[in-house]
Symmetry: D2
Subunit: 356 residues, 4 copies
């Protein structure tokens, strides 16, 4: 059914949750043809051996162990890499140098400042030159640079929610940018597909559990992007909490205003900032009143809203996303669509499911 | 974007969960144009006032109170009725007589025997003649009769799972049809969108709760359809249990064999019975081993499987469905596609989401 | 088995969740005899008609409609009132004047400043004199005043968690008290036992939903108590979020330090502040690392901890409680024990359940 | 506080879920003193390192690696063994021969017929003589034999629920004992504390998943005990399903009647059978209508009920238990209480929590 002019794509790290969502989305994408899916652990197995939902889909495809030559032999136009942080930094460079477009979903190419890798990730980045060339794949902030991009660094899920929740206010210079506090609540799929003691169902269900509250790495991305918007250094503190859902992340970004404001002005600021963003929906004035990840799950939407407590001058921006779609695979495909001049919504143009 | 030759559809009872899923599926359906959505309670409100997921979709549409003339004035080709049992029995007939195709998702036209309505629903059916004309909308059993059907009675969710789980064995005359026990486990969305004491989150979450265990109405449908397959009366006892999920239903249909059998024969029987069914997937031999609604949620698939305990001659057929899609809105659209000579999978051709 | 010298207690509003927990705890309390339990809706029914868990307990008791004379005729020493806010303000005064000790679990007597009722609750408090006499029933802050108290105003659940999470740092003058941000995550039981559209299981499960983010009432209690500790006005902004659990609340109280600090100093401050508090446990240095309501549910414990991000000078105090026990019924009994010179832990001296 | 006359108890396999519940229950038991808790993995760690709920309890105690001499040196009166099946078969015998009372919570001594171990567990039992001496620790069936018992084989959780649900009808000879079908629904804690791919939260939550549907081992226990009651061989087929709860198991035991019956007779049969059972509660005629594990969680109760569909002669007995308490640790302590002539309810005498 699919023609010869389709874009040939490969997915690295395809047996994890992000990899699975990439496969699902690309299997439905009218311009993509999946030519390879790698997994060390499941090499040789059919896709549905791991992704039970894909039974009956991508029928010819089996996982293969990663091997650069093998990948290149399949002649992909684009490689989506869902390898863990640090694991694919070399691979990404090799593919890039071989002329293959890379959409890297790890943190490996997200930060512009090489020293930030030392500070936040504990390793020296081997390819600072490539950091400059990578485009941070948040379409709402980098739509123009994404056109034609050959290396896209797809944002982290917490960072995506954090940035989308507060970007309009940072840009508007409405808030004190020295004290931005992002309190994130996320579902269990954010931890990936590998079982751990903390992810064991009896231990994970019903949890309301802070993790890495001493300073989470995604703050680095949020600071980088918001500072760029503000035109000056912005401080972001990010505290994630694991809650019971499987999918979904809500960033409640608390800040203090520099001057008085009100709902109408805030609505105008948010609406105006996102006026060209097909995958951002402003939630205001109708039920449920504020963004709730529950009502975006299964889609690439970010629902964005706000609340203002004038008594104390505190303002909260909210952004709700499906962490595996808008926070990972969906956003990667959205940025990729833009990079290749395709319609931004291609393959992503469906609403969330409710109730879910 | 959509042309003049699209099928004009109206949805009655559109503010409930089944109505919401119909709207979602039809909004994406390449051949459907939604011309009306009725709701007594929310008349005048935009669709996303109730279906938060549909924010940004079906933009021109608002709920209207049901009124026959008003509906007819919009000139629908098909009316999907998601009204509660008994409420729309008159409306369905009026629409049918006005020449409109009706897909009725209530129980009102599912049973062929008018007396069954007295026994199971406690009222005398006013239009026994129409019962004869209605086609039971389970595509796997009635694909041929559905072609051109003007009145489709879409099956109940428990009945769908029950029938799909065991139909091949009934047809094969492998089991004792006087003692079929369907033990169903269902999520909370099956109870509809109206809050009750039992559906209050603190009371409903973590429940494992039998309901109507003295004899559930969907047994009537299952008996009717399985008897037809068997060519003789079949007895079905159906005991549903409310469990914690929101979506999903699993029928574990326990029966006793009339002769010895084994996995290979069973696999052959199931595979052969469903060989033309695009929305039935046989789960056998690879993880997770048996059907689990978790891995069909968000899709129109029924995952079907079986287990045989030869020590006691007990056989269990399993069918896992998304109760709102394969158990309601999706199956209705599937049957409707067939009825109009469209491709059976149109608008339903996507895999489930995982993890969810 | 129980003797004549037991304390006679009545529970008003006994059919709700807080009322049910009061009945459960008092049924097990070695010094309490429950002589009445009121409920308008369930008058005449046995206790287990509503509280299914109490089947076989409090056998002689039935709900009665509230009537002052009837209550007084039963000669209670103490009345625990779990009536909704505003409903029992008159009753509490009448009982108090009749010489009955009252433990009021509503907000009616928590605030010292009568004008705060106008501001936060929208009504003028009719008995400002009684506000002065009421003791705020947070044992960690008012243990001495509780001895002999005749009117105890039991704290709100969010306020309890908020105050316990940060009180040591406020007292120590370590943080900027003009910008305290309490981000609370709570389970569904906090909304009470009455079904609503938002509490309907399919809508409530998987939610991560801000509510009243423009300024929540419990901030008033937290400001009152923390200001008292600080000896100067403190500003508290409190933003609650509904998450999927049934029980449990976590307050993540974010603040900025006035000077550098470190884990060892923080540990010393917290440990020292709570050294006499049998129901506060400091979580530090062993798994799970930070407080999680999951591991206090079913008990009267508050698990308290902290995290410090020196890079930005942000400090977070955490407090995890079972909102129905430490946030309501348990804490009320704890304060009551103190008020009557009984051992503080009486009837509450058991660990949480795990896993739960 | 505790005197010299307390019973000295040790817990083997104390870091798992059953071990944790044993420690919790024994820590509160007025006649027990915990003198040892073994765990290979956590030897040397304090109890709360694993059982976060027990922070502040059993303060002096640390896990020790299992060593027979070491255990004997601590001079325990009773050893509760929560070791996995097969692992402690030798240890149990050694302790027994050393004169120590053993309550074995594994399957190692539950079956009387040595050949059943070959058939169901795949190994030859090394001590058939000891099988004869062991008492099956289901108090409702073996109360008299438990008095003075030196080796108690505590029942499996599914078997407990299965037997309690249907025992009265088997005894009464009301049902066809050649076709008893036990459909069990259980929470995730039944799988133990070890993380697996299937127990990973994103895979386990929302599951409705049959497991071992070809024939589950607990059927062996149920057959043994029900055959004994019936005075003739009984056939039991048991099909468990994993559902979303953490705790709780419901057995829905479906059977066909040999003669007509009705609710009043059934109520009489159940009530009469359990008239001396303090931990069995008959649920009939008041909400929630049928047993639901939700309302026994946190307690040692089994809630038992039934439903009869006369149309087809099908009868279902229900039993709802907390799988870790009535299905494991609580029942073990209940049987132990009886064995030592203590009050049966000692240390277990509290109601469930609601909502939970």
């Amino acid at each position: 059914m699919r023609g010869k002019c389709m874009v040939r794509v490969a997915v690295l790290g395809a047996s994890g949750y992000t990899g699975g969502e990439l496969l699902r989305i690309l299997a439905l994408h009218p311009e993509a043809e999946v030519v390879a899916a790698t997994s060390r652990e499941y090499a040789g197995k059919p896709i549905h051996f791991v992704h039970f939902n894909l039974r009956g889909w991508l029928r010819g495809l089996r996982f293969t162990a990663f091997n650069l030559d093998d990948i290149l032999r399949r002649d992909p136009d684009t490689v989506f890499s869902a390898l863990p942080h640090g694991v694919g930094v070399e691979t990404t460079r090799q593919l890039y140098e071989a002329g293959v477009q890379v959409v890297d979903l790890s943190a490996d190419y997200r930060l512009k400042d090489p020293e930030a890798y030392v500070r936040w990730y504990g390793w020296e980045h081997p390819y600072p030159d490539l950091l400059e060339k990578a485009i941070y794949g948040l379409p709402e902030l980098h739509r123009e640079e994404l056109a034609g991009a050959r290396l896209i660094a797809s944002p982290g899920c917490n960072a995506t929610a954090a940035i989308l929740s507060i970007a309009p206010l940072v840009k508007e210079e409405l808030i004190d940018t020295s004290r931005i506090l992002v309190d994130v609540k996320v579902g269990s799929s954010e931890g990936g597909s590998k079982p751990t003691r903390g992810s064991h169902h009896p231990e994970r269900e019903n949890a309301i559990r802070p993790y890495e509250p001493h300073g989470h790495r995604h703050a680095a991305e949020a600071e980088q992007e918001l500072s760029r918007l503000a035109g000056k250094p912005v401080k972001v503190s990010l505290v994630p909490h694991a809650v019971s859902s499987i999918r979904g992340a809500l960033a409640s970004t608390h800040a203090w205003v520099l001057r008085e404001t009100g709902s109408q002005e805030l609505l105008r600021i948010y609406t105006s900032f996102y006026k060209d963003s097909k995958f951002v929906r402003i939630v205001y004035g109708t039920p449920p009143g504020y963004p709730d990840p529950k009502y975006v799950v299964g889609s690439n939407y970010a629902d964005v809203g706000f609340a203002y407590e004038d008594r104390v001058g505190r303002l909260t921006g909210f952004a709700a996303i499906d962490n595996l779609i808008r926070g990972a695979a969906g956003q990667a495909v959205q940025a990729w669509n833009i990079s290749r001049g395709m319609r931004e919504e291609l393959g992503l143009d469906y609403p969330p499911l409710k109730p879910l």
